[in-house]
């Protein structure tokens, strides 16, 4: 079947009343998660994953994906109105978003960010539609050596992107790998690190760790940063402005900005470890460097808001490519999504689209619908989100603790897992505080068992020789790409960081 036919089939799967309801609920929840400072898509996905267990797999995956890309839409509202990014991927949106709001143009800024997000997200989904089958076709020749190298590539690129704290990132990954070895060894049946506990025979469950690290850990860190003491007094009153809708000049001046950064954001998103934050900072930096009026950037230039917004949404679509076609997540959020797939008994990879066409194409088709829904929600539900921003963190915090706790318990009705979640929360706080990377830990926890299995299979095939990695053309290609990324990514990281620093110095 051709791509168009596959997509139509996906649409027929996605467009059912119950799936549309799940999609809208996911989009709405994703926006809410994005609006709350300190919580990103990974926290939202981890906390809400247990709530999808009563649903059918297609509806659940559609809803979780909507939470994932919906968070990118929501994070910008606080960037524009409060100068506080909802998450790291919307930091670049504060550079011109908040100055626009201070100039009395909050309404047009909110509408343009929604449109830019929609364009970035939709172009991203179009590129997934075209490229995902090609990626899947290429990766069909992959065997255990290639899978081990891909898992290694995912980890290494994430650690390289951490920058100066890369050693702490590596230790975080080792902790994740170590946790991944707990449980019965599937090849020999021997227990590892179970200490006689029946609860640990099946291994350390991913959900309590992810909820603890991203939910509780981030919450404790937000309290440490004093978010519960800051009010929302500085919020811009957009409803008192004369004009809510953008002018014709806003549309015309940013049309190519959207086109450029949709592609750039998608490409950066496909690279494991790079992600939406780097994409948005790079887009801002690139846009300013090619602008005829760079001096206006940081003072309320619409292109300075549109560029990072388009890029971060396109990047979140791009990150779905390695997840769907290789089964390798490139970020913490996609690691949580992979865990969701695995919980449903689905194994993303080269054969995923062939073996589960309804689910794969249903998910892709739902992303078109989800972006349309998010465009409408993010324009017409702004008053609702403004009310949410006004809820003080000191009230929101305890509520998040309750949802994390009951969500964890609801999965397996296990008190041990609930206590594990609390422990992960406290450890996650100290990890954030001292520069460790909870994202690397979670990614390693998901990739660890896959990497170990692939490595042991590889060395069994090669009778213990590591030369197998350089004897196979596909492996050599992956090694080459990994080396290229390890050289290039620090440079991309530097471009993004220098854009952020220049903006901080300027403001």
């Amino acid at each position: 079947m051709d791509i168009f036919g596959d997509l139509l089939m996906g649409l027929s799967v996605a467009i059912t009343p119950i799936n549309i309801l799940y999609l809208l609920a996911g989009a709405m929840v994703g926006m809410i998660v994005g609006v709350i400072p300190g919580f990103g898509p990974s926290a939202g996905l981890a906390i809400l994953l247990p709530m999808t267990f009563g649903m059918d797999p297609i509806g659940a995956i559609m809803m979780l994906a909507a939470i994932y890309y919906g968070a990118m839409y929501g994070g910008t509202i606080t960037s524009i109105l409060l100068n506080t990014p909802g998450e790291s991927a919307t930091v670049a949106s504060t550079f011109d978003g908040f100055p626009l709001a201070k100039k009395g143009r909050a309404g047009p800024a909110l509408v343009m960010q929604a449109v830019a997000s929609f364009v970035g997200g939709t172009v991203g989904v179009i590129m997934i539609t075209v490229l995902a089958p090609l990626f899947a076709q290429v990766s069909r020749s992959f065997g255990p050596p290639e899978y081990f190298l891909l898992a290694l590539m995912g980890m290494l690129t994430l650690i390289v992107m951490i920058g100066q704290h890369w050693k702490l990132g590596l230790i975080s990954a080792m902790i994740g790998f170590a946790l991944g070895t707990v449980g019965v060894d599937l090849e020999t049946g021997q227990g590892r690190y179970t200490f006689g506990s029946a609860e640990l025979i099946g291994g350390i469950y991913f959900i309590p760790i992810a909820i603890g690290l991203f939910g509780l850990g981030e919450l404790f860190y937000a309290f440490y940063k004093g978010l519960h003491k800051t009010g929302t007094g500085g919020i811009v009153q957009y409803d008192k402005e004369e004009r809510f809708w953008p002018t014709a000049k806003d549309w015309i001046s940013t049309r190519w900005t959207m086109a450029r950064h949709s592609v750039l954001g998608f490409v950066v998103g496909v690279i494991p470890g790079a992600g939406a934050t780097i994409a948005s900072l790079m887009a801002y930096s690139t846009e300013r460097s090619i602008s005829k009026t760079p001096e206006k950037f940081g003072k309320g230039e619409m292109a300075g808001l549109v560029a990072p917004e388009t890029a971060n949404n396109a990047a979140s679509s791009g990150a779905m490519i390695p997840l769907l076609t290789l089964g390798i997540p490139g970020s913490a959020s996609t690691a949580v999504l992979l865990a969701a797939f695995l919980l449903w008994g689905l194994r993303p990879g080269p054969l995923f689209m062939e073996q589960n066409p309804e689910l794969a194409w249903g998910l892709i088709a739902s992303m078109y619908l989800g972006n349309m829904a998010l465009l409408a929600i993010s324009i017409f539900a702004i008053p609702l989100f403004v009310q949410l921003i006004k809820v003080p963190y000191r009230v929101l915090g305890p509520t998040v603790v309750v949802i994390c706790t009951l969500g964890t318990f609801s999965v397996n009705a296990s008190f041990v897992e609930t206590y594990l979640m609390f422990a992960a929360g406290i450890i996650g706080f100290f990890m954030r505080l001292y520069g460790f990377s909870p994202a690397a830990l979670v990614l390693a926890l998901v990739l660890g068992p896959l990497a170990e299995e692939a490595l042991r299979q590889t060395l069994t095939i090669s009778r213990g020789s590591f030369m197998i990695f350089v004897e196979r053309p596909a492996s050599l290609w992956i090694i080459g790409v990994t080396i290229a990324l390890l050289v290039l990514l620090p440079l991309l990281n530097q471009v993004g960081k220098s854009a952020g620093q220049a903006e901080k110095a300027g403001s």
């Binding site: 709530m51 070895t181 609930t418």
Partner: protein, 148 residues
């Protein structure tokens, strides 16, 4: 504090590695790679990296402790979360959540007695409806029989 945390990580890594070397075999009975193969690599790498970071940290000298006034609030929130875990075991999901929210909000959201009281009842009620009724998910049961 940072160095203390690193030493805790090192202790964990040393223990993990010792189990990998002492209890888990490198090769299986059939001569294939055994259950100890991967943990040994991970453990040794974790020890080496942690020692490297500790040496770096000691060379840099003692960083001034953050005298952030929010430490008290974080520790209080952590202690309350742990207390919530205990309450859950004793009183079950609904009652424990009412007690936890009542206590936490009265400490964090001081002076708003009416708002705190309403939230302490409304949030557990909404969460109960969502989990127990709408999603048909498990709620923690009480250790003792409760009248509801």
């Amino acid at each position: 504090m940072r160095i203390a945390f690193l030493f805790v990580v090192l202790a964990g890594a040393v223990y993990y590695t010792s189990v990998a070397f002492l209890d888990l075999s490198f090769l299986s009975r059939t001569g294939r790679l055994g259950p100890g193969f991967f943990p040994r690599i991970v453990g040794v790498a974790a020890i080496a990296m942690t020692i490297w970071v500790i040496v770096d940290a000691l060379r840099e000298g003692r960083a001034p402790d953050d005298e952030s006034s929010t430490w008290g609030d974080v520790l209080m929130l952590m202690a309350l979360a742990v207390a919530y875990a205990v309450l859950l075991r004793l009183f079950g999901g609904l009652i424990a959540t009412v007690i936890y929210l009542g206590l936490t909000l009265s400490l964090l959201n001081r002076g708003h007695h009416r708002q705190n009281a309403v939230l302490s009842i409304a949030i557990p009620g909404a969460v109960y409806l969502l989990f127990d009724r709408l999603l048909n998910a498990n709620m923690p049961p009480a250790l003792f029989d409760m009248p509801f």
